[in-house]
Symmetry: C3
């Protein structure tokens, strides 16, 4: 049997995510240790508590999940967790603040079911937000020609520049998508559009979507009406609409949840897993192939 599987859930919010806790339990965690209002300054002692308690052979039975609603805070905590590890003194760790990593992975996987991503033209609307940036990152690594849309072209350009410094082969283009005209230009000739915007904001109208004949896949990650892409449903799952395969947020959600649970289970296989966007996407791809 081995020792109980312990997951340490680190959450910067005043009330730690119940969603993350329930998924952890359903992924088979035996004992969940939840810490809320976590600041970077707390991380060292919390991680020491995780790595200095059990013997080396039992370290794979302890893992850390970094969540919460704020992706930037989650990233800071995640980085500090990794910095605290040394040599073999480490446990596996996963970042999924605001579900950004699992959502981005599920969205890109949904697109990849219908079109080879290499050299495909993909427009990411709200590509500078926390989920959008991860979608862009995954697309870039897959070799897609990615247009990063934002109300501010400067912000989009900044995201492109930052990512190019990490993934030099990335094919990125910053595009403004503030007005209907700009949005039309942003998706002109695109094969895939992914809307990664905030809840309740339409980024692309039904008319514009239909008026873009090259579009083969449209994915919207906003579940709260009005949806991010017009004329779709949040429950759409590979739904054909006007010749375009459509996914809504709930339609992507089942894949997201499956990846989330599989990633949590992966944490307990060895003590050195680091599950960020890329690793979570790779795991999702593996699940798709099974």
């Amino acid at each position: 049997m081995g020792k109980p599987k312990i997951l340490l859930q680190l959450d910067p919010d005043r009330q730690a995510s119940v969603f993350d806790a329930v998924v952890a339990i359903d992924a088979g965690v035996d004992q969940l240790l939840v810490r809320n209002a976590v600041e970077v300054a707390h991380v060292r002692d919390l991680v020491f508590g995780a790595i200095f308690t059990r013997g080396l052979e039992d370290l794979p039975r302890t893992a850390i999940f970094v969540g919460g609603s704020n992706v930037a805070q989650g990233e800071s905590i995640f980085e500090e967790v990794k910095r605290t590890f040394f040599g073999p003194m480490r446990v596996s760790v996963m970042l999924d603040a605001n579900g950004a990593n699992t959502t981005a992975a599920a969205a890109v996987l949904a697109a990849a079911r219908h079109i080879p991503l290499r050299n495909a033209i993909v427009t990411v609307l709200a590509g500078t937000g926390p989920v959008g940036q991860r979608v862009v990152r995954l697309l870039a690594r897959e070799g897609a020609k990615t247009r990063v849309g934002s109300r501010s072209k400067d912000k989009a350009q900044h995201v492109c520049d930052t990512l190019t410094s990490v993934v030099p082969a990335a094919m990125l283009e910053a595009v403004a998508a503030s007005t209907p005209e700009e949005t039309a230009a942003a998706i002109d000739g695109a094969h895939v559009v992914i809307a990664a915007g905030a809840a309740g904001i339409e980024l692309l109208s039904a008319e514009q979507r239909i008026a873009t004949p090259t579009l083969r896949v449209a994915i919207d990650l906003n579940a709260v009406p009005p949806l991010g892409i017009g004329g779709m449903k949040a429950t759409d799952k590979a739904q054909d609409r006007d010749g375009c395969v459509c996914y809504g947020a709930i339609g992507v959600g089942r894949t997201k949840m499956k990846i989330h649970k599989a990633a949590l289970r992966r944490l307990f296989e060895t003590n050195d897993q680091v599950m960020d966007a890329e690793e979570i996407f790779a795991l999702g791809r593996l699940l798709e192939s099974e």
Copy 2:
């Protein structure tokens, strides 16, 4: 087997109730998620985490318990929890802040063992407090002629008016019970007296109790000396004293605990249980009949 039974314990206090946690564990909850310092503003996200995680068929395996020491805060959180549910997206929920619902149910059930409540004259001392108001509510629904005692007759009248607007058939009378003379008048001719006051305050003296020959049942919910009714013991359980059947707080406590656990188990039968005073009392009645 099904998925683990998860109870989300929402508590407005700085330190969440250990009592509520232990009872939940003993009622068979597999995983307890405790959230302290809960404010109404936190409720929406916490409830979303409970209803959006598992599939519809597994929603009965998640439930919410609202506790804490402050009944008014508990009621606000309970209302917000119910407001957040929509359509089938809900889990069962129970309110028992400060044990008010289970205590009130146990007290009224104790009285009902010895006298039919319909048309019985029942005086509730401290009937405007959190437990007292619930005792009054349950008595009114059972058809008892209920006298609501308080140091302030105005407060008592307010409780009567509020309750009458919800239970039009309620037979309620506001009575002042500040001085010994007022208290004597308040219980004059009564068949049952229930003292629902704060710890360590005597509301009715032994002499007054004995001097009221119509009294058949006396129930005191204060366990800390001096007790709420004189000449009794906290451990009294259907104890005959001067021709009157007496219950002290500890004597009622076993029934209270039994109801509390049964109500928690009930939460996991379906995903749409709402356990407030009336439902908890109905469950208690069912347990008595078994």
Copy 3:
């Protein structure tokens, strides 16, 4: 089987110790209730929740652990927990804030393996700190001639005076150990030296240790370089160095962990265990003899 074993972990820190939680789980606790930012004013209600919930026969299935990084705060909480118990209404309780009790016990046990402590001359460097004071206390009860070292001889004298009022037979001497000359005098003729100082501070140089031919055992409880005693390793476990048996913090750690888990298990044997330094040391001695 009996009811689930519940441990209530009371921790004054903003983030409750993960170390303490993992050890509790590995010691077989079924349900861990963690309370952070605990103040003395919170203790009464928390303890009431632990003692008033289960029947008397099940009280041994609930226990309390007082931890956290600050030993003085832990002691205050521990005292308040004990004060709240009355008659048979109690559960077992253990104090191990900052690991001070289990560390002190493990250190003294390590020394006792190699030399009879009765009448042995033992110098405790940093003997006025939280761990040091407990080491002194255990040594005094074992009948060792104990020198309490501190940078301030006044502080050392105060510790001696306080302890003598509790253990009148204690053979204690306050010694200054601020300069190399003072430290040399403090260990002159000693059979055992135990360094209980803060992380990263050398209290005794390798040269001084080697220059003290009477020394048979040297124990250092600081794991962070520079170590508390020069020329040793944190992993030393009964390592012979220059004719002296040496233990480093990690070398003592395995015994400490074993005692910690055994003490937690002991809590669930009856409902009246009080595990402070002496009881934890006695348990450790029992484990050594097995």
